[in-house]
Subunit: 362 residues, 2 copies
């Protein structure tokens, strides 16, 4: 790499790691705390962290799958046990899931080995965080029996809207909840049918409409590309337009692209930090500059990654070589990027907005 | 099959066949006229037919692909030529498309060999149709460069809303247009991101909201299942709920299910004719009875197919063993099902609503 960008990683990285997190119950082990949404609330920095847990198993051939079920109106976690030597219809080659190999040869996910929920972490200074011992948002069986992942927070006036991935046997969809106090929340249902995640909602109406990026993954035709949609009320979305599908010219984004952080407004226009993976699933972050009045219009974008896995805690972990953001704060010319490192830790890196602009090509 | 259902196929079947349709230009041949939406308008039966055309080629190794492009603000059809011996990165095993075989072994569609548009056919009696020589809805490059498919018509007061599949390199999405006169129409954009088709909108608000079935096809997790969504205005959709994914118990629907016809109201509740394919891609039609006030609630469904490929024109054609409906009319106790036969002809079959109810299991 011959270009320079001054990325200041926090000296306290990783800010939160699995050993800081109390498991939800005695059967669980915490695999990761990562991919957090961020906001400020009541004078504090507040993260909504994805906490991924799996079931401890001491038998080599055994895989235990946690699933949320509703029994007599109560949401509980059921644990289903599979045996690699008995349940031979499944593919166990990826420890993150049980697969089914389809007729055409594609691997479809049959079960996930981990179950995620969302937990709050608070800080006075944005670097020293204390994560709560209890979940803030727990998955419900009817909508997300396999868990909830990757929350993004959009503050609109005094309400915080949280979009997140609802995972079930029927696919990875996007749901919306809102809160005013981070103690209770209201559910607004599934806003995008599966497969669609990496949803980031703009923090204000533009030309009378709310706007969101979303990242559908179609089956037969098309790639994992970013789309942009409109809404009158945040609950119902339409006017979908294809936005961006990565580029084969730059090797860091020739795999897939997606959501990244909630966009923020600068004097030059909206800045949208997004993630891109290469063909080896190495995840980096880039940025778009978008027209203030029509954010489907790309004014410029970084031709190089602004953040890429370099630190040991980014290169090594549950799934190595990943930096993945769900949110950043733009304060006094500095973009404070909160990100998941190697799919198991929460980290922060600061970049001057001027450095991002300098990396952009028209 | 040991059960009986009295299906009366029109003696005039197929009502419209490819040779009845004038090609859009001298380079095109009509592969199929099928999968039509239906309504009554000005005292006539009116069909919106999908007309699929491909480019005539006389060289054995040559495949010509029609694509809509916008040149200086004008939508035109560009023809791209591939040579099987030169362009060896593509898979030519399915004549309907050029494929790319992915790393995992799955076949992703790279191009379609045919391009579809929507044409009007009119009839005084519902059986003798005359199809127009010109397109009613033509694909536009920005939204559907690979064509528009499978229209469904929902009449709400004096407006006819038409949902259809917008196909492009970015996937098969669903768009909405509306018309009051079947001469001009208004575009309402893409209402569901790809992959999502088989959208049928209910003909009235239920509990203050418009309701639609849709059929997303997720990539990594989940099958080609029916979902049900809500809208305040027909343009923006949310509150997605998984509805039905077929059944392995009945072999006629152990492949995939989808939209079928726009639902109609009976004294027992909403009746929804849907399609289901088995693992060999043999397409049949079944029906749901849905709660009048909450159509996400299934009161009963047919355990057997109500229409299945039996006639020669259903078993043989562009893609054999297919009956596929986009619309029906419910008149005087009779369900008049208009359907595509073998992906190339428009047909009609009448079934008494009582016969459908008799085939339903609670």
């Amino acid at each position: 790499m011959t270009y320079k960008i001054n990325v200041v990683r926090s000296e306290r990285n990783p800010l939160i790691k699995p050993s800081d997190v109390k498991p939800s119950n005695k059967y669980f082990t915490v695999d990761g705390v990562f991919n957090c949404g961020v906001c400020t609330y009541n004078g504090e920095y507040l993260l909504l962290c994805r906490v991924a847990e799996s079931v401890k198993s001491h038998k080599e051939d055994e895989v235990k799958i946690p699933i949320v079920v509703n029994v007599h109106g109560k949401e509980i976690i059921d644990i289903v046990t599979f045996n690699k030597k008995v349940d031979t219809e499944y593919d166990y080659s990826d420890t993150r899931s049980l697969g089914i190999i389809e007729k055409g040869g594609a691997r479809k996910i049959a079960y996930l080995t981990s179950l995620s929920h969302i937990r709050i972490a608070r800080s006075k200074d944005g670097e020293n965080f204390k994560i709560e011992d209890e979940a803030f948002i727990k998955p419900i069986a009817s909508q997300e029996e396999w868990g909830i992942e990757d929350p993004r927070i959009t503050q609109i006036e005094d309400t915080y809207y949280i979009s997140y991935t609802s995972v079930s046997r029927n696919g990875a969809a996007t749901s919306l909840v809102s809160t005013k106090d981070f103690e209770t929340y209201e559910r607004h249902g599934v806003i995008f049918a599966p497969e669609n995640k990496d949803v980031t909602i703009f923090p204000q109406k533009i030309n009378g409409k709310y706007i969101a990026f979303n990242r559908p993954v179609p089956y037969a035709i098309g790639g994992a590309d970013m789309w942009i949609a409109e809404s009158p009320d945040l609950e119902h979305w339409g006017k979908q337009k294809h936005f961006y599908g990565g580029s084969n010219e730059e090797s860091w984004e020739n795999g897939r692209v997606g959501g990244g952080a909630v966009p923020f407004l600068t004097e030059k226009g909206w800045v949208k930090i997004y993630h891109a993976a290469d063909k080896d699933d190495r995840y980096c972050l880039g940025a778009f500059l978008l027209d203030k009045n029509d954010p489907s219009k790309i004014l410029a974008k970084t031709s190089k990654a602004i953040l890429q896995p370099e630190a040991t805690y980014e290169k090594e972990g549950f799934f190595g070589n990943v930096v993945f953001t769900c949110g950043c704060l733009f304060e006094e010319g500095i973009v404070k990027i909160y990100y998941g490192a190697a799919d198991d830790k929460v980290c922060r890196a600061d970049v001057k907005i001027e450095d991002i602009f300098n990396l952009m090509e028209k």
